[in-house]
């Protein structure tokens, strides 16, 4: 088990190297430069040249990449080319906001998707099953930004139930959180994952409930609730757990549209801005963070998988 984890952690190194390589090449081959963004007041040619020399952008790309890797190994993500802050500093202040938003959304998604999926499987082809299908279809097909617009319009502007700009003054312990302000971005971010998880849960419940061992459990005289909870759900959770890992990584990293629309000062928004600004160190820094998170999420799923399904043997 331990040797398996160590091996998987070591495997992260080449994975992250390739992510770094591809991202670096793609980011630098996009046309434009960090210093040509103000069209009304373009910088003088000489200034741009000096800036390029200062940040090493005049070097051949392979030299820049080697330099970046060298810094990365020393855990130095460099400085933003646009803002007067280090990349580590930006990530440090904005990633927690995205992480909180993502984890809250994941929690809400699971809290609703699992029971809803289980119930709609148990009450297959009844009203509640069709209602959950309708909800899941809406959740997967209507993009978050469309729902967000309607939600802002309805709950924010017309009904004035929820404020919809910003994230409050950060968030320490829960009581001091501005929950009302967090409600809309969190719930809307959770919808996609919720819909998807509901369908997966329902499908794997239906799969599990038809297995022979369920009949065996019933033949022992167990109550239906015991059969469902003790025998069916445990098996049905195996495919669901596989999805939760990538879903978590996706929610934590992929919330830039929501952050943008609700003006949440999170990393997703910063990431998109950094791409527009050709802020190479920030692009790279955020991308490496995302890649690391996804790799860790996958590893966690594999470990949890071995724990809930005894047939999976880790290591060897």
């Amino acid at each position: 088990m331990l040797s398996y984890v160590i091996r998987r952690v070591l495997l992260m190194i080449p994975t992250l190297f390739f992510v770094a390589f591809i991202t670096f090449v793609l980011a630098h081959s996009a046309p434009g430069s960090p210093f040509d963004k103000n069209q009304n007041r373009p910088l003088p040619e000489a200034t741009i040249e000096r800036l390029n020399r200062l940040y090493g952008i005049d070097q051949p790309i392979q030299n820049q990449f080697v330099l970046y890797l060298n810094n990365l190994v020393h855990l130095d993500l460099g400085s933003s080319l646009v803002k007067d802050r280090t990349v580590a500093d930006i990530i440090g202040s904005e990633f927690p906001v995205s992480a909180q938003l993502g984890l809250q959304a994941l929690f809400i998604a699971l809290a609703i998707a699992l029971p809803l999926g289980i119930v709609s499987a148990l009450k297959q082809n009844t009203g509640i099953d069709y209602a959950s299908l309708l909800f899941a279809t809406i959740g997967t097909t209507i993009p978050a930004f469309v729902i967000a617009i309607f939600a802002i319009f309805l709950f924010g502007v017309n009904l004035r139930w929820f404020p919809f700009i910003g994230w409050g003054n950060g968030c320490g312990p829960l009581p001091s959180c501005d929950l009302k302000r967090m409600a809309m971005p969190t719930v809307i971010l959770s919808l996609g994952a919720m819909a998807f998880l509901t369908r997966i849960t329902r499908a794997s419940m239906l799969e599990a409930i038809r297995q022979d061992y369920v009949r065996t459990a019933r033949s022992k005289g167990l109550r239906e609730q015991v059969v469902i909870v003790g025998h069916v759900v445990k098996n049905a959770m195996i495919p669901v757990a596989t999805i939760i890992g990538p879903a978590t990584a996706g929610l934590i990293t992929g919330s830039f549209i929501i952050e943008w629309m609700f003006n949440v000062p999170g990393l997703g928004r910063e990431f998109v801005l950094s791409i527009n600004r050709r802020d190479y160190p920030l692009i790279m820094g955020v991308y490496m963070l995302y890649a690391t998170l996804i790799v860790i999420a996958n590893l966690t799923v594999d470990i949890v998988y071995g724990w809930i399904d005894p047939r999976i043997k880790l290591g060897r």
Binding site: L206, Y213, T216, A217, S219, G221, L222, G230, H231
Partner: protein, 372 residues
């Protein structure tokens, strides 16, 4: 009073294609400690009969539409759900066909056996665990104590079937239903499992019903045999009597298709031509008539009763016009006379003419259908 009395049991499945009468008027009795073999081809209603006894028919699409199942003086079909659960695993236990899929892959062996002990015998966890170890030793699992916390995938097929037997025996049931318990196992293991089942049932004085498609399997196992065909019992006899003096062409067919090692055979094994009938619209007369090479016009017109037959023991009953009093098969030696060759050809041609239809009916789908 018999332990189990099944009277005119009807179990149907309501499918999109129509009502499949899987069990259509089955009656039999079983005394305490007695062993009975239920024999017939796939799809003839054996398993559905067994599942009906425990009310484990998936509803919908299945439903027990008629009949009585009197177990220990009470009609199982009139009980409320709690009482039925009190019988399942406790008084009637079932061993299923495929030990590879009948055990829950994510629960330990000990948990799966203990569950019933804790439920019915009110044992606490440690008592149940101790009893589980004893049961596993009883069914011949070596170093049982060390294997309690293993999962099913760590056991071989034969071992898993031993676990199923231990599970069935755990609460000292009065009746065990063994549904093709050895079909999924290697031939070498089959004999071991059957011996184990027979010896333990005798030791525990448990009655059991052994369901199989293989007459060879029940030969040394049970006191009586009921042969089923197309949802009905077509022949009832003591085991020895049935093998020595079968009185129904379907049984003859089954016997002819058993490979025997102790006899030099001149001819090859003779299969029964054709497929079992469509249980949505069964033949109006004798249900075996379309496949019977001894048939006459009478067989198509009227279904024979299950009745005593001349030249056999009094409790030997068969459902055949030919072997009943005055019939044309009373004095026939089934071993030498394989029937009218012309009729045999006819049957083969009929089967060849409707392959698609036959395939559809042969594979009547009894699983619940998923909606859109």
């Amino acid at each position: 009073m018999p332990l189990l009395e099944v009277k005119d049991l009807h179990t149907s499945f309501f499918t999109r294609d129509g009502v499949v009468r899987a069990v259509d008027g089955v009656s039999f009795e079983l005394n305490a400690g007695e062993t009975l073999g239920l024999v017939g081809e796939s799809g003839c209603g054996k398993s559905v009969t067994a599942l009906s006894l425990m009310r484990l028919i998936p509803m919908p699409p299945g439903k027990i539409t008629e009949g009585q199942i009197v177990f220990d003086g009470t009609d199982v079909l009139q009980m409320d759900d709690d009482d039925v659960r009190g019988i399942r695993g406790n008084n009637i236990a079932m061993i299923f066909q495929d030990p590879m899929t009948s055990l829950n892959p994510v629960l330990t062996i000990s948990r799966q056996i203990s569950e019933a002990l804790e439920l019915h015998l009110k044992m606490d966890r440690s008592e149940a665990r101790k009893r589980t170890t004893e049961l596993l030793e009883l069914v011949g699992i070596p170093s049982a104590g060390k294997r309690l916390d293993d999962y099913p995938h760590q056991f071989s097929g034969g071992m898993r079937q031993r676990v199923m037997i231990a599970m069935a025996l755990s609460c000292n049931p009065k009746l065990i239903l063994a549904d093709e318990p050895t079909t999924a196992l290697d031939v070498t293991i089959q004999a071991q499992i059957l011996d184990l089942l027979k010896n333990l049932a005798r030791e525990f004085r448990t009655a059991f019903i052994l369901i199989t498609h293989d007459l060879g399997v029940v030969a040394g196992m049970t006191q009586r045999i009921h042969v089923m065909y197309a949802g009905r019992i077509v022949e009832k006899a003591d085991t020895g009597e049935l093998f020595a003096n079968p009185k129904m062409p379907y049984t003859w067919g089954l016997l002819r298709s058993i490979p025997r090692l102790d006899e030099r055979r001149k001819e090859r094994l003779v299969p029964i031509e054709g497929l079992p009938p469509d249980l949505i619209a069964p033949p109006p007369g004798c249900r075996f008539e379309p496949r019977c090479q001894y048939r006459r016009d009478l067989c198509r017109e009227r279904e024979p009763e299950l009745a005593s037959v001349p030249g056999a023991k009094p409790d030997h009953q068969a459902r055949c016009h030919g072997t009943q009093a005055g019939g044309w098969l009373v004095d026939l030696d089934w071993r030498s006379e394989i029937g009218d060759v012309r009729v045999l050809e006819e049957i083969k041609q009929e089967v060849a003419a409707v392959p698609a239809e036959a395939a559809r009916l042969g594979a009547a789908d009894l699983t619940p259908r998923e909606g859109p």
